[in-house]
Structure formats: C-alpha cells, structure tokens
C-alpha cells in the first residue's frame, strides 16, 4: 500500500514536472540559476572589458590618432619650410634679375654716351678737315680761274691769227673774253 502511494505520488509528480518544463523559457524554477550565473559571468565580463579590453583598444586607437596627427603636423611643418625656401629663392631670383637689369641698363647708357662723345669728336675733327679741304679747293679754284683768262686769251689770239692771219689787239681780246666768260 505504501509502495502504491509512492507510485501515485511519482505519477502525479511527473506530469507536473513536464508541465513546468513544457516551455523552458517560461520555467521559473530555472530563473534563479540563470540570473545568478548571468550576474557572475556578465559581471566578470564587464570588469574585464572596463579594465582591460576597452582601455587597451582605446589606447591603440589613441596612439594611432596621435601618430597620424603628429605625422600630419610634421608634414605641414615641412611644407611650410619648403614654401618659405621657395619664397626666399623666388625673392633672390627677382632681386638678381633686377640687379642684372640695372647693370645692363647702366652699361648700355654708359656705352651710348661714350659712343656719342666719340662720334661728336670725330665729327668735329672731320668738319675741321672738311673746312680746310674746302678752303684749299677754293684757293686752287680761284688760282685756276685767274689762269683760265690768260690761257683763253692766248688760245683765242692764236686761233684768230690762224683764221685771219693777224693777231687781235689786246683790248679787243680782253673785251671778247670778258663777254664770253660772263
């Protein structure tokens, strides 16, 4: 009888347990264990994340960001230096060009004035020589012209003598010459 009672008890107990475990997520008897183990595992997980994993990854990312920022700053600095060097070079070049321009200009002006004075001097000399030559020519010319009258007179008297057999008188000859030469 006692064994029978026990049997009925287990028989009663089994469907109850099956009912409880009918749908495991709603079986409240497992809740305590799940909450406890979740608290333990998630608590530990949170602690490890907070104290180890997150600071480490954050550190890695921070280092990288710093490094990149540093590199960019360095690149910027170098670029500025290069720009400054280029500007200095440009300025030096412009100065040199200006200087060269000035020197060329000065030289040209100097050469020009030099040439001018020399040319003027040469021209003056030439003018003087020309004047002397002209005077000389004029002298010769007047001399020649004064001799022309005599030569023409002689030639005329000779021609007239040949033509008419008698030499013209000096006065006639002179008169004729004068009218012919005018």
């Amino acid at each position: 009888m006692a064994g029978n009672a026990e049997q009925t008890n287990t028989e009663l107990h089994i469907p109850e347990a099956e009912h409880g475990a009918g749908f495991p997520p709603f079986d409240a008897t497992t809740y305590a264990s799940q909450i406890l183990w979740l608290a333990i595992t998630f608590g530990l997980f949170y602690w490890i994340m907070k104290n180890v994993a997150v600071p480490r990854i954050a550190g890695i990312l921070e280092d990288r960001r710093d490094r990149i920022a540093g590199d960019l700053a360095e690149a910027n600095r170098l670029k500025e230096e290069t720009d400054a060097a280029i500007a200095a070079y440009e300025q030096a070049l412009a100065e040199a060009r200006n200087k060269a321009h000035g020197i060329a200009h000065e030289t040209r002006a100097k050469l020009k004035t030099d040439q001018e004075t020399r040319r003027e001097k040469a021209e003056a000399e030439l003018g003087e020589k020309l004047k002397a030559a002209e005077a000389h020519i004029a002298g010769i010319k007047t001399e020649a012209l004064s001799q022309i009258g005599d030569i023409a007179g002689e030639t005329t008297s000779a021609l007239v003598e040949q033509l008419i057999g008698k030499a013209p008188t000096k006065t006639d000859l002179n008169k004729a010459l004068k009218s012919a030469m005018n």
Binding site: P25, Q34, I35, F42, M49, A53, I57
Partner: protein, 249 residues
C-alpha cells in the same frame, strides 16, 4: 525527442547547486554564458596583444567592434555618453557572441531565455534611472513632461510617457528573446521536415529539397538576425542612456 523544436531550449543541470529552496545549479545555460564571456575576452585581448600601429586582421576586427559601438553611442548620447561605453560595449559583445554561439548545432542559445534578456534590459533601465536620479535629482522626471507641451495636454502626455518608459524593459527584452526563440524554432521545424519527409521514400527525398532550401536560407537569415538584434539592443540602450544624460528632450 530529437525532432522536438523546443528541446533545444531545455535547461540541463551540469553541477547541481542548491542553497536552501533556491536552485543555483550550473546548467548548460551557465556553461554557454561562461563560454561566451571566455571566447569574447580571449578574442579581444589576444587580438590586441600586439598593439600594432598598423593592425593585424584580428586586431582590426576588435577595433571595428569598438569603433562600431563607439559610433552608435556617440551619435545617440553624445560624447558625454562615452562614460557608459564599457557597459554598452559589454552588452553588445555579450549579446552578439551569445547569439552567434546559438547558431552552432547543439549549442545552447543563452539569449533565447526571457529571464536573461530581461535581466540585461533591467540592467540598462536601472542604470538609466539610478544615474538619471543621481545626476539630475528630481529634474530627471522632466523625462515624462516634454518641454513646450501645454499644461492641459500634459495630463494626457505624461501618463503616456510613463507607460512608454515602463514598457521599455519589456520591449527591449522580449524583442531579443522572441527573435532568437522564433528563429531557432523555425530552423528546427524546417530541418525536422527534411528528416521526416526523406523517410517517406524517393518522392519524399525529392520533396525534402524544399525544406532543405528553406533551412539554408533561414540559417543565413538567422546570422543576420543574430547581429541585427545585438545592434538593435545596443542602439536602444544608447537612446535610453541619452535620456539619463539629457532628461528634458
């Protein structure tokens, strides 16, 4: 009962521990919590042990997870919200890895139990309430009275806000739990069809191609859901934490 779709959610005791009336046994659920935590910690710590300026592949996975969660938190709770980063990151990684572990055949899905997801949701909500009250005192209750609402309307709006606040832990936990549960049941049901149909001769084997295709497609979908639910849980956590930081919206 290999074909029972509910069987996979059963809690089995590994080391029975009982304190008085309470049952704190180490179960398969506890085992997978431990495995989830151990695997995640091991991955995150080992992959970043090189502290490479140029990350290795595994290190970049850890960094991506970090940047991903940091991006979510920063965009919904601002830089001030970064003080909650360890909590949010832990929640995301724990839920994600627990969900993904559930995708292995014969593995237990920790997040398919409402009590686990509810406990995580309560952790978030209690953090919001306690931090909100500590930081803003009674001003924290401005949360229920949005600025710019006429006093008459406030009589209607405030109760709605209270109800929506109270339903947060429920919606947050039920969403994750139901998604994981329903997905695994569906997967198991379709996989069960393959077995039972192919037992019915040549025509059955030919017909079993259909549920096989479904099972393959559902497996892919479940991987998506596993990630998506972890993401949704994280996004909502961040939005609730934003309420703790800035109660007057």
């Amino acid at each position: 009962m290999a074909n029972d779709p509910i069987h996979q959610f059963e809690i089995q005791k590994i080391f029975p521990i009982e304190v008085g009336e309470m049952d704190f046994s180490f179960t398969n659920s506890s085992l997978f919590m431990v495995l989830t935590v151990a695997a995640t910690c091991a991955f995150l710590i080992l992959s970043t042990s090189g502290r490479g300026l140029v990350p290795s592949r595994l290190q970049s996975v850890s960094e991506m997870a970090y940047e991903f969660v940091a991006g979510i938190l920063r965009s919904s709770a601002g830089t001030e919200g970064m003080r909650f980063f360890p909590l949010v990151f832990s929640l995301f990684m724990f839920v994600l890895v627990a969900n993904l572990f559930g995708m292995f055949p014969y593995f237990f899905t920790v997040t398919s139990h409402i009590i686990v997801t509810f406990a995580l949701a309560m952790l978030v909500i209690l953090t919001v309430i306690i931090y909100g009250l500590l930081r803003h005192g009674l001003k924290f209750f401005h949360l229920f009275a949005p600025a710019g609402v006429p006093p008459v309307l406030l009589l209607i709006v405030a109760p709605i806000e209270v109800v929506s606040f109270l339903s947060r832990p429920i919606s947050l936990s039920v969403r994750l739990f139901a998604n994981m549960l329903a997905g695994h049941i569906t997967l198991k049901v379709f996989a069960g069809f393959i077995v039972s149909m192919s037992a019915a001769g040549v025509a059955g084997v030919a017909g079993a191609i259909l549920p096989l295709g479904m099972t393959v497609a559902l497996t892919a979908l479940e991987f998506l859901v596993a990630f998506l639910q972890a993401y949704v849980f994280t996004v909502l956590t961040c939005m609730y934490l934003n309420d703790a930081l800035h109660p007057s919206h």
